[in-house]
């Protein structure tokens, strides 16, 4: 499966995760040590009202699900003897939003939808895939949304073959 096989509008549910107090605090100690991510009492006094996950923790758990879903898909392709395109690196992210906090016990379902596919004059070997990644809680409320760009290998050697 190469860049040419991707379609705008394809949506993939990549799994869900329930956030525990312990992992929220462990992530915060390592990367985002702010009181409302570290301590229940301090969080209760903050405008969040209760312990909530760092936004980057939500982003990181989403990434894990995206990567595992892709690896699962790639393993399927290999099993069927089909080619697997190389992916990465990402040039970046934009329009990232955390509309609501993720609280202890919330279960967040993550999804990915392709919103743009672009070939690049400067890089004939790869195309740029822009996907909207989202996280939605158990009440159906959006808690995370971002546009993520990734380079995906093109079917260039197949094109070369057709031209000779």
């Amino acid at each position: 499966m190469y860049f040419e096989d991707l379609r705008v509008g394809t949506r993939t549910e990549v799994g869900s995760h329930t956030f525990t107090a312990d992992e929220i605090k462990a992530f915060a100690r390592e990367f985002d040590p702010q009181p409302f991510h570290l301590d229940e009492e301090a969080a209760a006094r903050s405008h969040f009202g209760a312990l909530c996950a760092s936004g980057w923790h939500t982003a990181a758990v989403c990434l894990r699900h995206i990567v595992l879903a892709r690896q699962h898909q790639q393993a399927e392709l290999r099993r069927r003897g089909e080619p697997v395109a190389r992916t990465g690196p990402s040039p970046g992210l934009r329009d990232l939003k955390w509309p609501r906090p993720v609280y202890v016990g919330d279960t967040i379902a993550f999804a990915q939808e392709i919103v743009e596919l672009r070939t690049l004059a400067s890089r004939p070997d790869v195309g740029l895939r822009v996907a909207r990644l989202t996280g939605t809680n158990q009440r159906g409320e959006l808690v995370y949304s971002v546009l993520s760009s990734t380079f995906i290998e093109r079917r260039i050697r197949h094109l070369d073959g057709a031209q000779t």
Partner: protein, 155 residues
């Protein structure tokens, strides 16, 4: 403690450099971005960027840690509604030393919530060779002095 009123547009804040190890890169990747180029020196040789490199989101999380230690821990931070843009400009590899420089690009009181204001930051992270590795434009919310308790207003 920094409140909303203490962020002056145009101010530039410099941070203590952060050293990145192979163990840091692999530990983040094992938990959140388990791809060969972030996990294993040998497996990373046949990827689009050769050699072990940090997950982009790991760079962002290291940025967050520097930002929290340098600004947010001693502030009236109320979190962030979002990030306008993140650009990954060069790979981060084991042994890199990352230096962060943050410019205050904008500051305005919230219209709907008078107890807080919004501050726009532009982050530039460079490696030991002065090469940019990350740029970020983000907005954070901070409590205003007027909304704080009486004793804190006097400080």
């Amino acid at each position: 403690m920094r409140a909303f009123e203490d962020f002056k547009v145009g101010e530039i804040i410099e941070f203590t450099p952060l050293a990145v190890t192979a163990a840091d890169i692999k530990s983040f990747a094992a938990r959140f971005d388990p791809q060969p180029m972030h996990l294993d020196e040998a497996a990373s040789q046949n990827t689009i960027v050769d050699g072990l490199t940090a997950s982009g989101l790991h760079i962002v999380c290291m940025h967050m840690r520097l930002f929290a230690d340098g600004i947010l821990r001693d502030s009236t931070s109320m979190g962030s509604p979002g990030v306008e843009e993140i650009r990954y400009l060069a790979p981060v590899r084991p042994g890199d030393s990352l230096t962060l420089r943050v410019e205050i690009a904008g500051a305005r009181p919230s219209k709907s919530r008078p107890e807080m204001g919004l501050v726009n930051f532009r982050s530039h992270m460079i490696n030991g060779d002065n090469k940019p590795v990350l740029e970020m434009a983000a907005t954070l919310m901070f409590g205003r002095r007027a909304a704080m308790g009486g004793s804190e207003v006097a400080i």
